[in-house]
């Protein structure tokens, strides 16, 4: 490539990454701001005061912990069910596999608010009180397709003779699954949990319909932004960012490709 070409490419890449990361940089920066008034929107001066007690705001902290627990539970449930679906689709001789796979991908194209309204309809119809349970059900539901599709891709690269080899070496089918299939799928399972966790943790639309009195972090923030924007929000978000980045690094750390 010509020198000009590579220069343009570098500039273009820098621009794209700059745009991607500018909002995040602003968020981190404003967690160190000392705002006047209730809206942490203009840079006033540097302070570490916000970071001294990151969990000072009790309601915010409570919402944060609720979201954390909800996202974890929903992700585990979705990955469990989605994993079983992916296994069935990859292994069993299912009639109409194509159709089933399409049905799995279709909910991804459904507008979230339509799903949210339908879920509210369902819960009201079932006379199920809105709260932690309905939140968990609806979050694991919208994560399910993502989990199943991620794991299906992972299973596609899995050599089925490995399970046969385990059985040939004296392991009954379930033991073969535990000693061979599960450890080899672990990175895929971890990635799926991570994805579902972040989807659930972020969710506002579906939560707003199915949360009842329960307050998740996005719900709290949406409400709080009408009254104030406290630097604690940026502090907490920066913390979340750091934890997510650490988890991502862990998931993507260079490892031997187990499918080879």
């Amino acid at each position: 490539m010509s020198r000009l070409g590579s220069l343009m490419l570098a500039l273009g890449s820098a621009l794209v990454y700059g745009l991607l990361y500018a909002p995040i940089a602003v968020m981190v920066l404003f967690s160190f701001n000392a705002p006047r008034g209730r809206f942490n929107l203009l840079w006033q001066g540097f302070t570490l005061e916000n970071w001294r007690h990151p969990l000072r705001d009790a309601a915010l902290t409570q919402a944060f912990l609720t979201s954390l627990a909800l996202a974890l539970a929903a992700a585990l449930l979705a990955v469990l069910l989605g994993g079983l679906m992916a296994l069935a689709l990859a292994r069993a001789r299912v009639r109409g596999r194509r159709g089933i796979e399409l049905l799995l991908a279709l909910p991804l194209t459904n507008p979230e608010i339509v799903l949210a309204a339908a879920l509210l309809n369902l819960f009201v119809g079932l006379n199920l009180p809105r709260g932690p349970l309905t939140l968990l059900l609806s979050h694991s539901l919208f994560c399910l397709s993502y989990a199943a599709l991620t794991l299906k891709a992972r299973l596609a690269g899995f050599d089925p003779t490995l399970e046969l080899a385990a059985q040939d070496l004296g392991a009954p089918p379930l033991e073969a699954f535990r000693r061979v299939t599960l450890p080899l799928l672990a990175p895929g399972l971890f990635a799926a949990v991570l994805l579902c966790f972040s989807l659930s943790f972020d969710d506002y639309v579906i939560s707003s319909f199915t949360a009842g009195e329960t307050v998740t972090l996005p719900l709290y923030l949406a409400g709080a932004f009408q009254r104030e924007i406290s630097p604690q929000i940026q502090v907490l978000s920066t913390l979340v960012l750091l934890v997510s980045a650490a988890l991502l690094l862990l998931a993507c750390r260079p490892q031997e490709d187990p499918s080879r």
């Binding site: 046969l164 040939d168 070496l169 187990p258």
Partner: protein
């Protein structure tokens, strides 16, 4: 007692017959090969013995016990897969220890057995490596150790050398034979490579289109094949009509003598013209056509062939009729 006995074992897939009723016995300590072109039923037979598939009819006896319906993990045989199927998340040592651990073997015994198995395949120094850090030949040996460590009644090998390059294949062939002699365990090899089957086996079975053609020692099958199928599958062959006109006789190309002299006392011969000379290193393959328009093939060392041999040469092909063999089942 036979280690493996198949009694009228058959397998169909829908309307496709993968294996016609097959009866076969394999003895203790034998190196036995199932030889045939792809789709002949040899791999089906191996899968039936290993328990990955069930026959529609017939019985499978292993060490005298009827295990026709037993799942793979309850059979006293171990398979070396064509792609080796080594567990990528386990070290070489843990791969080999997989079988003993499935049988809940005591720790001290397990260590001893795994160590021994790695010694047999000469890999003890690589015990800590992961499979992807090994060469193809080394992976092959780990797969073999992983089977041998269980002291099975028989080790089943599914085209184990097919994935290796030719030089390594020859080395591994010798090694496989040495290991089998050392451990004395029955080996059942599935292959489509006739050289491999002929050089390794104590006995071999030739399968074709789901049917057993013939069982015997390599020499028997090469020199006295029952059918034209076996004759041509085990090597290049001249199939000549019987002088009486009914039936065919096999004449291996290395039994033909080429030269200007007509056949002598007790010999037979045909006059032919050289159509092609294929230099093969130690030997030369000569393709000829007889006066009666019959293609012939002769193989001999350069030293034994006439000096002035070239395409277009007219000469005599002579042979001793005792070196030809009457086929029970000629080509149609």
């Amino acid at each position: 007692m036979d280690v493996i006995a198949l009694q009228e074992v058959s397998r169909r897939y829908g309307s496709l017959t993968a294996l016609e009723p097959l009866t076969l016995s394999i003895g203790a300590g034998e190196f036995f090969s199932l030889l045939g072109p792809s789709g002949c039923g040899k791999t089906t037979t191996l899968r039936l013995i290993a328990g990955f598939d069930r026959p529609q009819s017939g019985r499978i006896l292993l060490q005298g016990r009827d295990l026709t319906e037993a799942p793979p993990h309850r059979r006293p045989v171990n398979l070396v897969f064509q792609n080796y199927a080594l567990f990528p998340h386990l070290s070489v040592w843990d791969n080999v220890a997989f079988g003993p651990r499935s049988r809940r073997m005591a720790d001290a015994e397990l260590r001893r057995r795994v160590g021994e198995a790695l010694e047999v395949v000469r890999l003890p120094e690589l015990a800590r490596r992961r499979p992807h850090q090994l060469s193809g030949g080394q992976q092959q040996r780990v797969a073999l150790a992983r089977a041998l460590v269980n002291a099975p009644a028989a080790v089943l090998l599914d085209e184990p050398l097919a994935a290796l390059d030719p030089d390594l294949r020859r080395t591994m062939r010798r090694e496989l034979q040495a290991i089998q002699r050392e451990v004395g365990i029955t080996f059942v090899l599935v292959t489509h490579d006739r050289e491999e089957a002929l050089s390794l086996s104590d006995r071999l079975a030739v399968l074709n289109r789901g049917r057993l053609e013939q069982v015997g020692t390599p020499r028997q099958l090469y020199e006295q094949p029952r059918s034209a199928v076996v004759a041509t599958f085990l090597g290049s062959a001249n199939l000549l009509p019987e002088p009486s006109g009914a039936g065919q006789r096999l004449l291996r190309p290395e039994r033909l003598r080429l030269g200007p002299e007509p056949p002598g006392e007790g010999e037979r011969g045909l006059q032919a013209r050289v159509e092609e000379l294929v230099f093969q290193g130690a030997t030369v393959e000569v393709r000829l056509r007889s006066r009666c328009d019959r293609p012939l093939i002769a193989i001999d060392t350069s030293a034994n062939l006439p000096n002035n041999l070239r395409v277009g040469s007219e000469l005599w092909c002579r042979w001793n009729p005792a070196h030809s063999h009457a086929l029970e089942e000629p080509t149609l």
